[in-house]
């Protein structure tokens, strides 16, 4: 036990690979929620571009589109509690030459309005930006009805759709700016809870490009969203235990950065995917689909295992569903040891 504590002390000094800032403390402390960064990014974009319009479905205070609404009331449309109409109206606005951002909670945006997104936006390849907040289990106490753990799968399966899962506030701002320059439908998955800062200040996001913190010789963890910070913590614990683990921020879930996945698979013995989402159909699914066809290697997926979330504080839920550095470490060690025997 004492040894462990000592190790974790050393770990905190060792963390911080060359070009990335030290993690801010704790899951809920430090950093900002990606939804807060979205609110700020929209405001900046609204100032720059007059064609930007924002729509919400009675959740503008929570999704942070309310900031834009205050600054540009004539370019903000609250459609009420009617997500299908939200998507249809956003589609119409794009056809009328505007650049619409439509926001609500991830479960309602991708769930209730899925077929509107499929038929109207995706099939017609409309330039609508779907930016949803309150994804995953860190929605916390509201419970499973409000926790989207299948939204990446729902959006990823749609042709023409781009799917982005930013890791922190810095990346969220980059993403909003980048997708405004990109023609076509985009789904951006944001969260409710504060997340640690993981990306460097000078980071530049581009669609289809992953960000590599480190490439490991033993294992590479491909993560997205809040799980990037969790993976970085796992990486440093593994390092102390003599395992060379790498971490890749695969914010661009679709298009996936195939080259980076391939490189990670070639240099190491194990790929681990980590996401605050079902292991079915999300980032883990995307990585497995690619590797199974192009370069089959052992993969372990961290995420919700065919289950709904539940009510509780977000840090307790992260533990309950194994979305912790400790669980990643355990999965990696068991898997590498198991393979040696």
């Amino acid at each position: 036990m004492g040894e462990k504590i000592q190790k974790s002390k050393i770990k905190s000094q060792k963390l911080a690979p060359p070009h990335n800032p030290p993690l801010s403390k704790g899951g809920s402390g430090g950093g900002v929620a990606t939804r807060d960064a979205y609110g700020e990014a929209l405001l900046e974009l609204g100032r720059k571009r007059e064609d930007v319009v924002v729509l919400d479905a009675d959740l503008s205070a929570s999704t942070k589109t309310g900031t834009f609404a205050k600054a540009f009331p004539e370019r903000f449309f609250n459609i009420g509690v009617s997500e299908q109409d939200l998507i249809g109206t956003a589609s119409g606005l794009s056809l009328a030459g505007k650049l619409p951002f439509a926001s609500t909670f991830a479960v309602f945006e991708t769930g209730r309005a899925w077929e509107q997104i499929r038929q109207t936006i995706s099939y017609s390849n409309l330039n609508v930006k779907l930016v949803a907040t309150h994804s995953g289990i860190t929605v916390a106490e509201d419970g499973a009805s409000h926790q989207a753990v299948e939204d990446i799968a729902l959006m990823r399966v749609l042709p023409n759709m781009t799917v982005i899962v930013p890791a922190d506030g810095i990346e969220t701002k980059q993403v909003i700016s980048a997708i405004s320059e990109h023609y076509g439908p985009v789904y951006v998955r944001l969260g409710r809870s504060k997340v640690p800062v993981v990306m460097p200040e000078d980071y530049r996001f581009s669609i289809g490009k992953a960000y590599t913190f480190h490439i490991g010789k033993d294992v590479n963890i491909i993560a997205a969203g809040i799980m990037v910070s969790v993976a970085l913590k796992a990486m440093s614990i593994l390092k102390d235990r003599g395992i060379d683990a790498g971490v890749i921020n695969m914010s661009s879930v679709k298009p996936l950065d195939n080259d980076t996945v391939l490189e990670a698979a070639k240099v190491s013995r194990l790929i681990v995917t980590a996401e605050e989402h079902s292991v079915i159909g999300g980032l883990g699914g995307a990585v497995c689909e690619f590797l199974a066809e192009e370069y089959p290697v052992p993969v372990k997926r961290i995420g919700l295992r065919d289950t709904f979330g539940c009510s509780g504080p977000s840090d307790e839920l992260m533990k309950l569903y194994g979305l912790t550095p400790e669980n990643i470490v355990q999965v990696v060690e068991e898997s590498l040891l198991g393979r040696q025997k």
Binding site: G66, E141, L317
Partner: protein, 281 residues
Amino acid sequence: MSQTAASRDIGFLKKQANIVRIDILKMLAEAGSGHTGGSLSAADIVTALYFYKMRHNPKDPAWKDRDRFILSKGHAAPLLYAVLAISGYFDKSLLMTLRKIGSPLQGHPCSKLLPGVEVSTGSLGQGLSVANGIAIGLNMSGINSRVYCMLGDGETQEGQVWEAAMTASHYRLDNLCAIIDNNGLQIDGPCCDVMGLEPIVKKWEAFGWHVIDIDGHDMKSILNALDEAEKVKGKPTMIVARTVKGKGVSFFEGKVKYHGLAPTQEELERALMELEDIDNG
């Protein structure tokens, strides 16, 4: 229902509604999050349903002849949990586990975890369709039970509500009685500013419903409306209940902000003083 019986009921039900409100506030304060305003606004009606109108058996939640209640506005879960606990579906101490890990009292009702909850809700706009299905099924089985469904006014902005409105009148579901908790507020502000709903009564009438427009805090009007609904033949009934969001606690009443804010300990104490006053009065 004789005049004297009704007035005896009214006194009892008012007291009961007060107890329900006290439980709602206590469990929300303990949970530290949850929906205060919409639980309090619907409290009188749901009290009347569970302690006056509905035939149900807390010892046998799956009793096939029971009347059914669907809380379509699932965020008012604390209200449902309070009436279920007071009815005896589960021990009242469970209320203090609301929204905690491992509790059957999820942030929004989960029928898989809690007997007495007919179906899981929380995503708005879906409950009336389910109520229709139950009503049709009961008719097919020759069961005489009635189906009640509580919606929020903001919730009726969902298109599915109007699809269900057509289904209910098309199939002449006179065993169905829906209620709109017409408190005039949703999350982003007053409904009339966010997405206007009026004329509510005329809309439901146009969709083929028998509509009763009442003060949703006047117990006598509530009982009369529920009794009247039972006598309507050939069409579903909609009770448009004019309510006040946060009703019962002066400093929560009519305040948009308390839609999704739980009382602090200090607010709880002040609220309980107001409510316990009524109880003794």
